[in-house]
């Protein structure tokens, strides 16, 4: 089960993921990111502080957006991952492809830098 909340802060869209993301709940994540991109946000920050687990399907969602985000010049930053979750990202090599920061402030700062 997963719960996804979106809120806007300083022109950035913050997507907070609460719970676990597996094959079925990954659809919700996909939807949330698609909406955010569709609404034209130039800065998207994903709050992973309450993300307990992510399966390969969930990672696939992030992966599938990498190119689109690059093409549209949207800065995309994740932050606050638990070690276990971060481990999943790094094993797959996604940590090198995505921008991952520890705190929200860092994430926001990076997003600002990237969008310039």
């Amino acid at each position: 089960m997963v719960h996804i909340k979106r809120l806007q802060e300083d022109g950035a869209d913050i997507i907070a993921i609460v719970g676990e993301i597996d094959a079925s709940s990954s659809i919700e994540l996909d939807l949330a990111i698609a909406k955010s991109v569709g609404e034209g946000f130039k800065k998207i920050i994903v709050d992973c502080q309450a993300l307990e687990y992510i399966s390969s399907a969930g990672l696939g969602v992030f992966m599938s957006y990498i190119e689109e985000l690059k093409d549209k010049g949207i800065s995309f930053v994740l932050f606050g991952m638990k070690e276990r979750v971060l481990n999943t990202f790094s094993i797959l090599g996604l940590a090198d492809l995505l921008n991952i920061r520890e705190t929200k402030q860092e994430a926001k700062k990076l997003a600002d830098e990237l969008s310039v």
């Binding site: 990672l59 696939g60 992966m63 599938s64 094993i91 797959l92 090599g93 090198d96 492809l97």
Partner: protein
């Protein structure tokens, strides 16, 4: 069928023979009487022959009409009418002959008159029995135990009257009076059974009226002609038995006449209400159409169209529309004699006037909104009725019916449409359930195929070498994943190993897995260094994998000459290596991104070439994340730590034993035999 034919033939033959004997014996008796001679034939013979004639005909019609299931109500009336018509035509023909004979001697001869009389009587009785049999079927149309018993008593009474007539035992006056009263009362009560009339439609009622009227006319005609002739004969002879003295004939006549008259009147008075009955019937048929539409039609759309059409027809609405939230949450609008703009106008009008819970789909009650329409200008409609359509207690749509008349809907109509809407809801629910079941069945079938494919893709035999022993294990959950491992000998001293995990489940996973196998078998034999292998594999896979799916893999080349393992990891779980020198199991730290994630050429920047030397007794464990992520009932994961410990404990054993102990520990930890992911591991022990 054959038997029935034989019986009808036999009975008609009996009747004919009986009638011929009847005629001759009667003429003989009459002749003897006139000439005052002793009769050669017994006086009772004509009477008995008449009984035989009656009984034979009774059975004839019983088999001809009563048993014929295909006859409808009008067919029955038609039978009576046709019998009457034939009888009347024959009788009129006889009259014509009489007329043509003019004033010759023959027509005034009493014996000839008797002959004519017998012909008419036979036709008359025939007609009456045909009518009797048909009435029986009409009366017993809706049988009840009580009705069946009453009819049996009635028939037995008639039979006893018939016997009583012919044996001529004179019973006391009271007994015969009682018998007559009971029979007539019973006949009257039975004649009140007119249920069949209700099932006739308007046209059939008119036909029935005509047929009944003509039959009535024949009856009266026969009564008239038979009476005239019998009067003529009885004036001249004492021995002649008037048909009127035959109580059975009178009873039969009375019954046929009564029922005929009753039927005529009932049909006549039912004429104005026939449209109501027809309408009810149509409602039932429409009802059936809605419920049957699941089996016959293949879409929800047809259910909606039938609902719309049936509702409009049942309540004579001028227009209607149906708003439906489809299974994929899309809004659909079906209209009948109304434009979409008009429906929108009405919608907006109601919204503007803040009429809550009416046409919005949160409403779960039938509403008569006619009064609100009054204030809408430029609309031809003055009455509006809205019904919710529910599936599993959830309102999925609204049915709106419109009339141009004010107050056009009554309570009856509301009730009917509610029933329609409910039935449509049930049909749609069933339809969706059916669809779901189909989908599930298809999915299961797909899984079965995927599982077979997946199994067949894994090697049955692993490459063996004197320098190491290798064993592999793979178990898959119900939901097919895409774990893959394989080995390939490149050269005398080089052996390639691969372990991979395809993201996603089901057929797609199995499909990608087969692609991976193809890539492995074609690339590995060229002997590329591991990083090149990954770069080429990525290039090949990028255009096959759909958005969001990827393959994690680790590729190894074991060189037995240099005692080195060259490998490249692409997003797969890190290699677990036990070294005899340190007696510890550790995870190799390196970098690498999964195949299919980076679509550009710079993928080679995301993978590395790695290597390590091995010594005798070293153990390398390759596995998929199903093992490390296996959970126990507390929700804890098996984890890297436990896996490493298990290897450390058992490292001195053979590769097969190491593997078995790891699997055993895994099952013990998860606490159950059924697994929720794929477990795959490959254990290599160096000699």
């Amino acid at each position: 069928m054959f038997k029935t034919k034989a019986v009808t033939r036999f009975t008609s033959l009996c009747a004919t023979v009986a009638w011929v004997i009847l005629v001759f014996s009667d003429i003989t008796v009459l002749f003897s009487d006139i000439k005052s001679l002793p009769s050669d034939v017994p006086v009772w013979l004509p009477r008995v022959m008449l009984d035989v004639y009656v009984i034979a005909l009774f059975y004839y019609y019983k088999f001809k009409i009563e048993r014929d299931e295909s006859l409808t109500f009008t067919d029955l009336l038609w039978k009576v009418f046709a019998t009457g018509l034939i009888a009347t035509v024959i009788s009129l023909a006889v009259r014509l002959i009489l007329f043509l004979l003019g004033s010759t001697k023959l027509p005034s001869n009493i014996l000839f008159i008797d002959f004519v009389y017998q012909i008419n009587l036979a036709l008359f009785v025939n007609f009456l029995l045909a009518a009797y049999t048909c009435w029986k079927r009409l009366i017993l149309y809706q049988k009840s135990k009580w009705l069946m018993r009453a009819w049996l008593v009635f028939e037995l009474l008639l039979l006893s009257i018939l016997i009583y007539d012919s044996i001529h035992i004179v019973l006391s006056e009271t007994i015969s009076t009682i018998a007559i009263v009971v029979t007539s009362l019973l006949g009257l009560v039975l004649s009140a059974n007119m249920r069949w009339v209700a099932y006739l439609n308007f046209k059939q009622k008119w036909t029935s009226l005509l047929l009944l009227l003509l039959s009535l006319f024949y009856l009266v005609y026969f009564l008239y002609s038979v009476t005239i002739w019998s009067d003529q004969i009885s004036q001249q002879s004492q021995a002649f038995i008037d048909f009127q003295s035959h109580a059975f004939n009178i009873a039969l006549l009375a019954f046929a006449l009564t029922y005929m008259t009753f039927s005529f009147l009932v049909v006549l008075f039912n004429l104005p209400t026939s449209s109501v009955f027809e309408q009810k019937l149509e409602e039932v048929i429409n009802f059936q159409r809605i419920s049957q539409s699941i089996q016959t039609e293949q879409s929800e759309e047809s259910v909606y169209n039938i609902l719309l059409e049936s509702s409009v027809r049942s309540v004579f609405a001028d227009a209607a529309w149906l708003e439906i939230k489809g299974s994929a949450n899309e809004q659909k609008l079906y209209t009948f004699q109304i434009t979409e703009k008009e429906t929108k106008d009405i919608h907006n009008h109601l919204e503007k006037n803040k009429i809550k819970g009416a046409l919005d789909q949160s409403s779960d009650k039938t509403k008569n909104l006619s009064k609100h329409l009054g204030s809408l200008k430029n609309s031809r409609f003055r009455s509006l009725l809205a019904f919710p359509i529910k599936v599993k207690d959830e309102t999925i749509g609204t049915l709106a019916l419109l009339k141009e008349l004010p107050d056009g809907f009554n309570k009856e109509m509301t009730r009917i449409i509610s029933a329609f809407a409910n039935q449509a809801g049930i049909s749609i629910e069933n339809f969706r359930l059916l669809e779901e079941a189909f989908q599930n069945a298809r999915y299961k079938e797909e899984l079965k195929i995927a599982k077979t494919v997946q199994k067949s893709l894994l090697p049955t035999k692993l490459e063996q070498d004197a320098d190491f022993e290798i064993s592999a294990f793979s178990a898959s959950a119900d939901e097919v994943g895409g774990d893959y491992y394989d080995t390939l000998r490149i050269s005398k001293h080089e052996i390639a190993l691969i372990i991979a995990d395809v993201s996603g489940k089901g057929t797609t996973a199995a499909f990608h897995m087969s692609q991976m196998k193809g890539i492995f078998h074609s690339l590995a034999q060229l002997g590329p260094n591991p990083k090149d292998f990954m770069a080429k594999a990525n290039k090949a896979l990028v255009y096959c994998l759909e958005r969001g799916s990827f393959i994690s893999a680790t590729y190894f080349v074991i060189n037995t000459q240099s005692k080195k393992v060259f490998y490249s990891r692409a997003g797969h779980c890190p290699v677990l290596l036990f070294r005899t020198s340190s007696q510890t199991a550790d995870y190799l730290k390196d970098k690498g991104t999964a195949l299919g994630m980076v679509r550009s050429h710079d993928y080679c920047n995301f993978v590395e070439d790695n290597q390590f030397s091995y010594a005798s007794g070293d153990v390398m464990v390759l596995y998929t994340d199903g093992i490390t992520e296996a959970k126990n009932n507390k929700g804890e994961e098996f984890g890297n730590e436990r896996l490493a410990q298990e290897l450390q404990k058992n490292a001195s054993k053979s590769s097969k034993e190491i593997e078995e102990s790891v699997i055993k520990a895994l099952y013990q930890f998860s606490g159950s035999e059924d697994i929720n992911d794929d477990y795959t591991s490959m254990t290599v022990k160096f000699n």
